[in-house]
């Protein structure tokens, strides 16, 4: 039993800290820490800095330009970069489609796409969900019909995160309607500039444009853009989802959000005292901090168990549920900390350049929108109910 980092791991942590101290742009960190929305340019600027450092592709083998960190090193990176307010990499290219291409793609696909992901030339989005296929993903209906050297794609994808910035989309499409739902799905890489693709924004309840609908009308996709074999896409999709689930617990982000909450609760006043000294509020904070402490150790236990190689299994589903509930609770408490000032929706104060008077607190404006926005956490990446189904089947054998 040893809960400490090794000397090498501690040295790595120092290296990470030195890098973040030196290279993380202050304006970007301020946005992240204050729950403010990042622009495409912010993401790209940080992505470029990471690429130059060789630290962008943390899940890739070194031969493709990855950094090949150990699970513990990845964890240290997550913790430190969250603490410093570094943006999380938009995962669709680097952490989702890339591992699939590396494992199942052709040599040409690797040569073509991986360098463009590393350089930031391509921005990928994910074409999984459809209006009629959410948690029941395998019921998807977007059709791809082979026509000579092309597939002709027709259908609709939805909840496409940051699709408005993307030039590439990876899609699950139905190539066979004669077989069981899971067995007729293929994995296609599609250029968003292809004629017949329309992206339409979905404005979420917090007023943000983060997700989109993507429509496909007779879209011609070259057959060389098929990953792996036709009709075997479900296997690749599930492989990708294991990558998606790891890190969804967001322990590092929750720690940073908790710090933000405590600072907010120190500035807010109730009964003439800082809110953080209020008995019931401090106990609410204490409770979520304790839960986060336990989830943090559970996370480390998973990391330590895969340190020798391999992917975490269904236990990361359990942690996804726990971790997202914790983040939502922290967001809930931040909103409560504002009292009546949770109500005003002051968009101009969300802008980092805002130089007017603040209605209540300098960090107040994004808090309530963030609370509403993060209701998504228990829905995406496989809803928490789906995660429980996975645990029930894979671990409990029910």
């Amino acid at each position: 039993m040893n809960l400490n980092y090794t000397t090498e791991e501690l040295a790595f942590r120092d290296e990470v800290r030195a890098f973040l101290d030196e290279k993380l742009p202050a304006d970007i960190a301020a946005k992240v820490k204050g729950f403010r929305r990042l622009s495409k340019e912010d993401h790209q600027r940080w992505q470029k800095i990471l690429s130059e450092q060789g630290w962008y592709a943390t899940h890739w083998p070194e031969e493709y330009g990855g950094v090949n960190w150990t699970p513990v090193q990845k964890h240290i990176w997550d913790e430190e970069s969250s603490r410093y307010g570094a943006p999380r990499s938009v995962p669709f290219g680097v952490n989702m489609v890339a591992p699939v291409i590396i494992k199942f793609g052709t040599e040409e696909q690797k040569q073509r796409y991986l360098p463009r992901i590393l350089s930031g030339e391509d921005w990928w989005c994910q074409g999984y969900s459809e209006p009629g296929a959410g948690s029941d993903l395998a019921s998807l209906k977007t059709r791809a019909v082979r026509d000579g050297d092309h597939y002709i794609v027709n259908g609709q994808k939805t909840w496409t995160t940051l699709g408005q910035h993307a030039n590439m989309i990876f899609c699950l499409v139905r190539t066979n309607t004669e077989v069981k739902a899971q067995e007729g799905i293929s994995f296609l890489l599609i250029d968003m500039d292809t004629p017949g693709i329309t992206v339409r924004p979905i404005i979420t309840l917090d007023g943000e444009h983060e997700v989109n609908e993507v429509f496909f009308e007779d879209v011609k996709v070259p057959v060389e853009n098929l990953v792996g074999e036709e009709d075997k896409g479900w296997t690749y999709a599930k492989y990708l989802l294991t990558y998606e689930r790891t890190g969804l617990a967001g322990i590092g982000i929750s720690k940073a959000a908790l710090q933000h909450l405590k600072e907010l609760a120190t500035r807010r006043i109730k009964n003439g005292r800082p809110l953080i000294e209020d008995a019931s509020f401090s106990q609410r904070i204490a409770r979520v901090e304790i839960d986060l402490m336990a989830a943090g150790i559970s996370n480390l236990r998973i990391i330590a168990s895969v340190e020798g190689g391999g992917m975490p299994g269904a236990e990361s589903s359990m942690l996804k549920v726990r971790g997202t509930e914790i983040r939502q609770t922290i967001n809930d408490l931040a909103r409560r900390a504002l009292g009546p000032y949770a109500i005003p929706f002051v968009e101009e104060e969300m802008d980092l350049d805002y130089d007017g008077d603040f209605l209540s607190d300098e960090n107040a404006a994004p808090v309530t929108p963030q609370y509403f926005n993060n209701r998504k956490l228990s829905i995406f990446g496989g809803s928490n109910e789906i995660q429980k189904n996975i645990v029930s089947k894979m671990i409990l054998g029910l």
Binding site: M1, S282, E289, I297, L300, I303, E307, S392, I395, L396
Partner: protein
Amino acid sequence: MDFRLNEEQQMLQDTVARLVRGEYSFEKRLEYSESELGFSADFWKQLGELGLTAVPFPEELGGFGGSGVEVQSVMTELGRGLCIEPYLQSVVLGGGLISQAGSSELQEQWIGGIASGEVRAAVGLQEPQSFYNLNDVETRAEKTGDGYTLNGRKAVVIGGHCADVLVVSARTSGDSRDADGISLFLVSPDAEGLERRTYPTIDGSKGCDLFLNNVKLGLDALLGEEGKAAEIIEYQTGRAISALCGEAVGAMEVACDLTLEYLKQRKQFGVPIGKFQVLQHRMVDMMSELEQARSMAILAASVADEPQSDERRRILAAAKNVIGRSGQFISEQGIQSHGGIGMTREYNFAHYAKRLVMINHQLGDDDFHLEQYAELLQ
């Protein structure tokens, strides 16, 4: 980072597991529980013979030099077996208080016996009005020419009915909730003026309240420095919290196993009830609580024997808060998943449920430790 037990720790845990498997069938436990002693003298003897009661003591006092991890390994298996022997009271708390506070004479007098299991200690730290605040001590110890005279009442002393020695806190100075002025005394169960009201506990064990009426003790009954016991009590209850976390995790493991097994075997509407999603998700929630508790138990063990600090206080308060909540959750949801059979005395699940809920009433419940933690928020 490595969360596994090392080879020796694993061997220790396996030893306890084997012993418990051999000696602690559900039926035998009921017999032990209903006996006058309230547990198995024979099992206790075996714990001693195998050196398990010696685990936490320094080698020079006849111990094994084990840390929080070793103690937790023992307690986890005792928890799995729902064992009712007073290991926590005698070995961890009684022995811990005497080891830390006692003069070398007192250590030599008592620790060897406690470590071998031949002597059983019990601790009287709480009082009817103290709730879980162990600094709330109204029992008075008046200094007389040749010793002390104790008056007061100590509440819910588990194992106190059959202890060879009682470690009791009493106030030698200060107001009733001051940390300063609390002292520890070693009291013989035969002392004149000491009365015990003994009762069974709802989770199958036995305890008593101690009534001290002009109990006269010699100067040598004082354990440690006069008036300075609060820190020692806090430190040792911290070690006991870690141990109790081990017991709780062991009991929760079995409670979850029993429930899962039942979901697979019990049929209603023509299918095993584990096919119903509402029960599947409840089971996942129970497992998730168990894993949170296990994580906190590991963390608690890692600080149990470290020097006192706010970090240690925070971790132990957090751990006790988590196991309190998860233990109650698993008990309640497990009974619900079992339906009527979970309500019966003849089925072992109910006994795990009772023990898990009562663990929350030992050494401070989840509300108490949440308050403690909140006071240490940074």
